[in-house]
């Protein structure tokens, strides 16, 4: 894959998900912009909505762009309509699907799953609830070729999402961060005003992000759904962890804290015991399939393969976030032995030394 295609893929992934994979953090303008109508490109490129390191995706067939101020790429198809594919040249295809019908479709390749209405959001919550209580994850949601769009509105938290990361210029000239988003202005609106409007709307909301699904989903419904499920960020990360394993042909993995624990007897996050892995999106994940287990640190994404017994001990440490309460399930000597073994392998678990279950003291550094 050439450099340009790598840049496009990362830019598209960032634009679709609202997570920053671009590594571009210049000031002023958006890192990635998708334009729905090629006639808007000239005005866009002349505005402060883009910067020199922006990537702009433009529908094919428009006028030639002379001396663009940033990188532009032509695409065929659509990035907004469910059931439709977009392509860049002959090498890259991305299909858009809505969440509600995805379980009934076969996956053809890279797919961005969108929430396009209330039924999609209701299905998203149903699937998350099922994963949380029974450990059953939808097959399509954990497919390595799938990404969920607009994750900051689905419980991932604000992260790096916002106009500095991504913009969408609709056919009517309105600007948002996503095709399903609230209008933040039109072509001609200065970038600072677009960003200010994004901030204003989100300041009024009870759950982030109130903009990127604001035109397709009632925000009270969205906020209520997220508020009742403060663990949705972990659900989204668990999906990512399962996709990573499936990409390595490891199928059928289970996730600790989602309907099950590797070590029998450990409390589940929603049992009322206040476990350390209930909601935090920086907290590592433990997954297992058969006799193999994997410690996955979401930020930065690192994966460590563990032997079964070691994984059981790690399960106790990650569940409680502290040694003392874990001794009710694993001998202290073994806890400390595993802790030391992880350190020897470049993994440092900085556990809370108090008996409280507050995970704020946990820092995980994994080997490269």
């Amino acid at each position: 894959m050439n450099t340009d295609m790598r840049v496009v893929k990362r830019s598209l992934m960032s634009w679709g998900t609202g997570l920053d994979f671009t590594g571009r953090h210049s000031v002023g303008g958006a890192s990635v912009v998708v334009v729905e109508d090629a006639d808007h490109v000239g005005e866009l490129l002349a505005s402060d909505l883009v910067r020199s390191d922006s990537v702009v995706l433009v529908p094919a067939g428009g006028a030639d762009i002379h001396e663009p101020v940033c990188r532009t790429f032509s695409y065929e198809g659509s990035l907004t309509e469910p059931g439709v594919e977009m392509s860049i040249g002959d090498d890259f295809y991305l299909e858009i699907q809505d969440h509600a019908t995805s379980q009934y479709m076969s996956l053809l390749g890279p797919t961005l799953i969108r929430i396009v209405g209330g039924e999609d959001f209701a299905t998203y919550l149903d699937d998350a609830d099922a994963a949380r209580t029974s450990g059953t994850f939808r097959e399509f949601a954990t497919h390595p070729a799938v990404q969920f769009a607009d994750q900051s509105a689905l419980g991932a938290g604000p992260g790096d999402d916002g106009p500095a990361l991504r913009l969408f210029v609709a056919r009517d000239g309105h600007i948002s961060t996503s095709p399903g988003g609230l209008s933040l202005g039109t072509l001609g609106t200065p970038f600072d005003s677009v960003r200010a409007e994004w901030g204003r709307v989100n300041a009024l909301a009870t759950q982030p992000c109130s903009v990127c699904l604001g035109s397709v989903l009632d925000d009270e419904v969205r906020s209520s759904g997220l508020g009742e499920r403060p663990w949705l960020g972990r659900y989204l990360l668990a999906l990512g962890a399962l996709r990573e394993l499936r990409a390595r042909t490891i199928e059928g993995a289970q996730v600790s804290g989602f309907g099950t624990r590797l070590l029998a007897g450990l409390p589940l996050p929603d049992d009322g015991a206040g476990t350390a892995d209930r909601t935090g999106t920086a907290w590592p994940f433990l997954l297992w399939a058969g006799d193999d287990a994997y410690l996955i640190d979401p930020l930065p994404r690192r994966t460590l393969k563990l032997e079964r017994r070691t994984a059981e001990v790690v399960d106790a440490l990650l569940t409680f976030g502290a040694v003392e309460p874990a001794t009710a399930h694993v001998p202290r000597a073994e806890l400390l032995q595993v802790f030391d073994a992880l350190v020897d392998n470049g993994v440092t678990l900085a556990l809370d030394q108090e008996t409280s279950l507050d995970p704020s003291g946990l820092v995980v550094a994994t080997q490269g």
Binding site: G83, A122, T123
Partner: protein
């Protein structure tokens, strides 16, 4: 009458064999099991129906292969099916869905070549090449019913399969796994002289204990080439466009068509 490999199997099984129609009783149950893993056409039908977001009539709905995704897409769906066995299976699937989907589904037991509903539909769907289950007279009845039930500007979405390049009898045996995990064999016998396509579905013999019954589910249709279907639709005042064409296996050409009234609504 079972032909080719299916006939040979029937003879070899002797009293162990129990033959069913494809969409009734045990036949329906086996067909349902493999259909749950069949997502063919779903993407295209959902996309097409979304372009006309009004009520949908799903003809020969079976156990809901298209009905359920259409409900998931947020549409109002009437599922019409003649087989009582299939309707039982559809009911079981609907019972597992959230109420917010089920309330948008109307289930009707009726013959797709002769029905009358108190509703008009923006889309009528007849997928899974089910139009070939009807003979010419049946198809004429179908098209009259569709015409009567299509809303202004509505569309009929239907599919058929052709076997164009075969000039001798073919007899194939393909393994399939159902949603239950049960392994099946699908036997297909095609005679180009008669254009009769016979399909027989049965559990893989190695999964059936010896000296127990082996259920064979069978169906026989006249292959309906797209050109013939388009011509028949034209006779009933429909203009048709080819929406999608794909190759299934070595010799089967699957075609999805969209038909609309060709002139002003009388």
């Amino acid at each position: 009458m079972l032909r080719g490999r299916a006939g040979d199997l029937l003879e070899s099984l002797g009293p162990r064999a129990r033959v069913h129609r494809m969409y009734d009783g045990e036949g329906a149950r086996m067909y349902h099991d493999i259909s749950l893993r069949d997502s063919h056409e779903v993407r295209e039908v959902v996309r097409l129906v979304r372009s006309r977001p009004g009520p949908v009539l799903d003809l020969a709905a079976g156990s809901g292969r298209l009905t359920i995704p259409l409900l998931a897409a947020g549409l109002q769906v009437t599922a019409l099916e003649s087989s009582a066995s299939m309707l039982v299976l559809l009911g079981e699937r609907l019972a597992q869905l959230p109420e917010r989907l089920v309330v948008r589904c109307t289930v009707v037991q009726a013959d797709m070549s002769d029905f009358l509903l108190a509703a008009l539909f923006d889309s009528v769907v007849l997928a899974t090449t089910s139009v070939s289950l009807l003979d010419a007279e049946g198809r004429a009845g179908l098209f009259r019913c569709v015409e009567r039930h299509l809303a202004p500007g509505g569309q009929l979405i239907l599919s058929t399969v052709d076997i164009p390049s075969v000039d001798r009898i073919t007899d194939t045996d393909v393994p399939v796994v159902g949603e239950s995990g049960q392994q099946y064999r699908v036997l297909e016998h095609f005679d180009p002289a008669t254009s009769v396509r016979s399909v027989t579905l049965h559990p893989a013999l190695e999964t059936v204990p010896t000296d127990t019954i082996v259920d064979l589910s069978t169906s026989e249709v006249q292959v309906l080439p797209p050109d013939q279907l388009v011509a028949e639709l034209a006779e009933h005042g429909f203009a048709t466009r080819l929406e999608q064409e794909s190759q299934l296996g070595e010799s089967h050409r699957h075609v999805m068509l969209v038909a609309e009234r060709a002139g002003p609504v009388s």
